[in-house]
């Protein structure tokens, strides 16, 4: 097993829009070591969300190779990619994407149920919600939560499968700065206490400040990053 949680080699993504091609990501190569908190920054349309979706197996590259936990995603079919998301990768979205008609606990339990876990679901859900400070709200419905609580629920949903990698797509984009700070602190704790690898997509420099390393993206290309946090410590 290598030291890298995620490795990208010459990854490109080209969308066809009518008669012309739109290059969303071009020739990106990078490696994210295990247990590192990486922020991917760039303006809107720079291709950072597309890159994150490809790493999550939600989208496929037009060319290039993506390895997650030493597994080449191109070698996996749709079902195996689904298995990867239910066991290894936790995904957090800007719009939370909670199901409004079921409770917080049931939302968090969804990935476990998808994975066919039967025993200890309640305990694991409680544990995940405790980790984000929401154990008191587990029987509430999403509409009864604040924006920050909804995003923390989404984080708990990502954590409940005990992933090795968390991919977060602008998780603080819909939140005020104080609440956003709480979310980022939670993600930071995941890295520090659980050794989880986090890839955070953001265009907020303050949010990127929580990362160990910041990568920049512009016009689909990835710019070299530095170990911000390592330098800080």
């Amino acid at each position: 097993m290598t030291m890298n949680a995620v490795t990208l080699r010459d990854v490109a993504k080209i969308y066809r829009r009518g008669v012309r091609d739109v290059v969303a990501v071009q020739c990106v190569s990078l490696a994210i070591p295990r247990g590192q908190f990486v922020a991917l920054m760039g303006p809107s349309g720079s291709g950072k969300s597309t890159l994150l979706n490809m790493i999550a197996g939600l989208d496929s590259p037009s060319s290039g190779e993506i390895h997650v936990d030493d597994v080449a995603l191109s070698m996996l079919g749709d079902d195996e990619l689904t298995d990867l998301r239910r066991t290894t990768i936790g995904v957090i979205f800007q719009l939370f994407n909670l199901l409004p008609s079921i409770t917080v606990a049931e939302n968090v339990a969804l990935p476990l149920r998808a994975a066919g876990v039967v025993a200890g679901v309640r305990e694991r859900v409680t544990q995940a919600l405790s980790a984000v400070g929401l154990q008191e709200r587990m029987d509430h419905f999403p509409e009864e939560l604040s924006g920050g609580e909804m995003q923390r629920t989404a984080i708990a949903r990502a954590l409940v499968i005990e992933p090795t990698i968390i991919l977060a797509d602008e998780p603080t984009g819909s939140l005020d700065s104080e609440t956003g700070g709480e979310i980022l602190a939670t993600l930071r704790r995941c890295v520090d206490e659980r050794g989880v690898t986090v890839l955070l997509v953001t265009h907020d420099e303050a949010a990127a400040g929580w990362a160990d390393r910041i990568l920049g993206m512009r016009d689909g290309r990835c710019e070299s990053g530095n170990l911000r946090r390592a330098a800080l410590v």
């Binding site: 969300s49 979706n53 999550a56 939600l58 989208d59 936990d69 030493d70 597994v71 996996l76 749709d78 079902d79 195996e80 689904t82 298995d83 990867l84 998301r85 239910r86 066991t87 290894t88 995904v91 979205f93 800007q94 719009l95 994407n97 909670l98 199901l99 409004p100 008609s101 079921i102 049931e106 969804l110 990935p111 149920r113 998808a114 994975a115 066919g116 876990v117 039967v118 949903r157 499968i161």
Partner: protein
């Protein structure tokens, strides 16, 4: 790949959780739409079940009547309405292997208390068979000898006698084929066996009494035969067949429903097609409802896919949901189907009774197989309807949905879809084209049904293209200041594919309405034209209000000179119509004097020559209706064998003509020849032609004055006769008209369902429109305009689909089922009004959800889902 990635969790469990966490909450949240989806299945299944139960009950009533009357008889000899010689009973009883044989007559008498069916049996004959039909312990006759000796004795079913207030020894008047008579109640019958038939209005008389009342001198309607316990059935049957040859048909009474199956085949086929179209409309509705549900749930499904639910689990959950709707809808449909069948069975049997044959009280009974078939139909149609939405869910763009910026999904109507629609239409027309090539009736019907279903779906697939063209056309003429209409058109032009299911349901429902109307118009037009050409008279004299068909009570033939003697009468033409087996098929024998054929010839299809009526007049030849000739593959010059009381007759087919007396086919004989061979002096109806000075009203009064004291006669004019014919045709389609209404309601529900889903789906867009541009009234007009344009499109397609559908039903189906050649009449006035009618129906259906949306506070419209 790490080991932990290869774990395969239970797929069933994943589906269960998806259903619990995604599907069920969505169904609960959109309760009204869920109920309407269910209604789509319910109505489709209910129509199917109702028609199946009615078909079976109608046929069952005849079968049950035959079996109940036959009791434990092993074999029966019958010969249609005319019956078999009474003398044959003794010869049959003496055949080795026969334990018992007894004759029975059955007929209807009119009383002041309503129709009374009487059975005539030989009270002093071998009791073994009679004991199973009218058990001695349930027949209460105080003095049997007196009962048999007095030719006015009758034993009445006790409930009917009580209801009519007829105590023992009470006398009452009856009118039968032999004229009026007075009977005395000298016994009672417990309501057991045949006494329970015909609504319990049953009487039992000694055989000679019944024969006298019913004009069956020397004849019985059937000979019931019980075989000896140790008899060789096969050998005895062969011996019996030899003895019965030329006099009637020997058959097991339990197999005798075959003739009725054929007689009711036309009605069954029409109801079957009706049921199939109902199912198709329901299926389109369910398709649309599930598609809308999946559209609304796409984000939740995308979340499920993103966090670890496999594609197959998502697709399977949709199918399970559809199957759930199918199961629940089927069970509710079964319950409603039974109710609808019970409500309409009397109407159907009444219509059947007028045209085909009278049976007893029909009872609707549900069997396990009905429930299983209903379940299969409900689940099958719902699952098939879910295929498209499931495929869409499988193709769900997870990333796009999760971004939350996704616009409402718009299915593309590209060339592949257009090509697919055209291919379906071509396949549908292809099925129609192949119908005539098949020799098997069932394959022909299957090809027709397949053509109808495939073509319906083909048109539905192409519906968005038609909508796009319609929208472009309306845009050209729509006034710019009609903001609501302009916005509606803009929205429809942007995404016409989403309306496919709704337009398809509207199209199928209203095409069906057009088809039924075209069929009734074609049938009515053809028959009434034929009536004018071939059987029109100034007055018709018969024993009852019914048409001159085998079901009508006959009159004595000796009334002819009495009617002819009335001033103003130029000619009287007696007409006799009975049912009889011909080559194992029950058909009508229509007998009238040859002169009438010369006076008003039936339209000839083929003949042996210009002098064909000469052979006919000699009694050496018959004329066949085209539909009967088609059934037997007979041509002019061929011979046909007939069993008559004079023995087997072999007669030449002199001509084949167009005849619409009955859809089971007609064999025509000269009345003189008929009376010679059948020894039957009765007449079904007298056709009366007046001289130049004859006034119909005056002559009618004169006939009535002369005959009424002795006979119960009904005299109708030519115009009334035609109205009765039209009424009988309408009566036969009474259920179909009700189903037309149901189809229209289904389509209305489809529009309502569509808009309920649309409004939820487009809440933000509607909120935006309200914020920046539209007031409530304008929003209401926009949504209703949209519905009306969708309705108009459905109406246009209903014409485009209704015309070929009607053409196929009128020309192919009718010829297949009855052999009748109908002139095609399409209700163009109704068709041209169809787009407006459907548009108004759709607008009305959309009114409620549109009004509710217009009244929704703005903050709720623009709020986050």
């Amino acid at each position: 790949m790490p080991a932990r990635h290869t774990a395969r969790p239970s797929r069933t469990r994943a589906i269960f959780w998806l259903l619990r966490d995604v599907t069920w909450p969505s169904l609960r949240r959109h309760r009204l739409r869920s109920v309407l989806t269910l209604v789509g299945v319910v109505i489709g299944v209910q129509l199917f079940v109702t028609i199946r139960l009615i078909n079976r009950a109608t046929l069952g009533t005849f079968t049950r009547t035959i079996e109940t009357i036959a009791g434990t008889a092993d074999l029966q000899i019958t010969n249609g309405d005319f019956g078999v010689p009474e003398a044959l009973v003794e010869r049959i009883a003496s055949v080795p292997g026969v334990a018992s044989a007894s004759g029975l007559v059955k007929g209807t008498l009119r009383t002041q208390h309503g129709a009374l069916t009487i059975f005539g049996v030989d009270l002093f004959a071998d009791q073994r068979l009679r004991e199973t039909q009218f058990p001695r312990r349930h027949v209460h006759i105080a003095d049997e000898l007196r009962f048999a000796n007095a030719l006015d004795s009758i034993a009445l079913a006790s409930p009917w006698a009580d209801q009519a207030g007829l105590a023992l020894e009470a006398a009452f008047d009856v009118t039968g084929p032999a004229g009026p008579a007075r009977l005395v109640a000298r016994g009672t019958l417990d309501p057991i066996g045949p006494t329970t038939l015909f609504g319990g209005a049953v009487g039992l008389a000694d055989l000679p009494t019944a024969q006298r009342l019913l004009g069956r001198d020397g004849r019985v309607d059937e000979i019931d035969i019980a075989l000896a316990v140790d008899a060789d059935r096969s050998a005895t049957t062969t011996r019996l067949a030899i003895v019965a040859a030329g006099f009637g048909t020997l058959a097991d009474p339990r197999d005798r429903n075959g003739g009725f199956t054929g007689m009711l085949g036309g009605l069954g086929a029409i109801l079957g097609i009706t049921s199939m179209i109902g199912l198709t409309v329901g299926s389109l509705l369910v398709h649309h409802a599930i598609r809308s549900a999946i559209l609304q749930r796409r984000r939740a499904l995308a979340v499920a896919r993103a966090i670890g639910y496999r594609r197959v689990a998502v697709v399977a959950a949709i199918f399970v949901e559809a199957a759930g709707f199918g199961v629940v809808g089927a069970l509710v449909g079964v319950v409603l189907g039974i109710g609808a069948a019970r409500l309409s069975i009397d109407l159907v049997t009444a219509a059947v009774g007028v045209i085909w044959a009278r049976g007893g009280q029909a009872s609707v009974e549900l069997e396990t197989v009905d429930v299983l078939i209903a379940l299969a139909t409900g689940v099958g149609s719902a699952v098939v309807a879910a295929c498209g939405p499931a495929a869409a869910a499988a193709r769900l763009e997870v990333v796009t949905q999760l971004r939350g910026t996704a616009d409402r999904s718009r299915a593309s109507m590209g060339w592949p879809a257009i090509a697919f629609g055209i291919a379906l239409c071509a396949a549908g027309f292809g099925f129609f084209a192949t119908v005539a090539r098949w020799s098997s009736y069932s394959i022909q019907i299957t090809a027709l049904a397949a053509g109808m279903v495939v073509l319906t779906f083909g048109y539905a697939v192409l519906a968005p293209v038609v909508l796009r063209v319609l929208v472009a056309a309306v845009r050209m003429i729509a006034p710019r200041r009609a903001l609501g209409l302009c916005l509606a058109l803009e929205h429809l032009a942007r995404d016409p594919v989403r309306c496919r299911g709704t337009i398809g349901a509207l199209m199928a429902a209203f095409a069906f309405v057009l088809c039924v109307s075209a069929f009734v118009a074609s049938l009515g037009g053809t028959i009434l034209t034929w009536v004018d050409q071939a059987v029109a008279a100034d007055l018709y004299v018969s024993a009852g209000p019914d048409l001159p068909l085998p079901t009508a009570l006959p009159l004595p033939g000796e009334l002819e000179p009495e009617i002819a003697a009335i001033p103003g009468v130029e000619r009287v033409v007696p007409l006799r119509i009975i049912l009889a087996p011909i080559n194992g098929w029950t058909a009508a024998i229509r007998s009238q004097p040859v002169d009438q054929f010369r006076f008003r010839p039936f339209p000839i299809v083929e003949s042996i020559g210009a002098d064909y009526l000469d052979a006919f007049a000699r009694g050496d030849a018959v004329i066949l209706s085209e539909n009967l000739a088609l059934r037997f593959g007979a041509h002019a010059g061929d011979t046909v064998a007939l069993d008559s009381p004079s023995g087997r007759l072999t007669l030449q087919v002199a001509a084949i003509v167009l005849d619409y007396t009955m859809d089971i086919g007609t064999l025509m004989l000269d009345l003189g020849a008929y009376r010679r061979y059948w020894h039957d002096p009765l007449v079904t109806s007298f056709m009366v032609f007046l001289d130049a000075d004859g006034d119909p009203a005056t002559v009618r009064d004169a006939i009535s004055e002369r005959l009424s004291p002795r006979h119960l006669v009904t005299i109708i004019t030519g115009g009334e006769f035609k109205r009765n014919v039209a009424g009988a045709i309408d009566g036969a389609f009474v259920l179909t008209y009700a189903i037309e209404l149901v189809a229209a309601v289904i389509a209305g529900i489809g529009v309502l369902n569509f808009f309920l889903a649309e409004i939820v789906d487009r809440r933000r867009e509607i909120g935006l429109l309200r914020t920046v541009a539209l007031d409530r009234a304008q929003l209401l007009r926009t949504l209703v305009s949209e519905a009306m344009v969708i309705g108009a499109c459905g109406g246009l397609l209903a014409i485009a689909w209704g015309w070929p559908l009607a053409r196929v039903v009128v020309t192919h189906s009718t010829r297949l089922v009855s052999g009748w050649r109908l002139g095609f009449a399409f209700p163009w006035t109704m068709a041209l009004a169809m787009p407006v009618v459907v548009a108004l129906t759709a607008g009305l259906a959309a009114w409620l959800p549109a009004r509710a949306t217009a009244r929704t506070p703005l903050r709720r419209l623009v709020g986050v889902e």
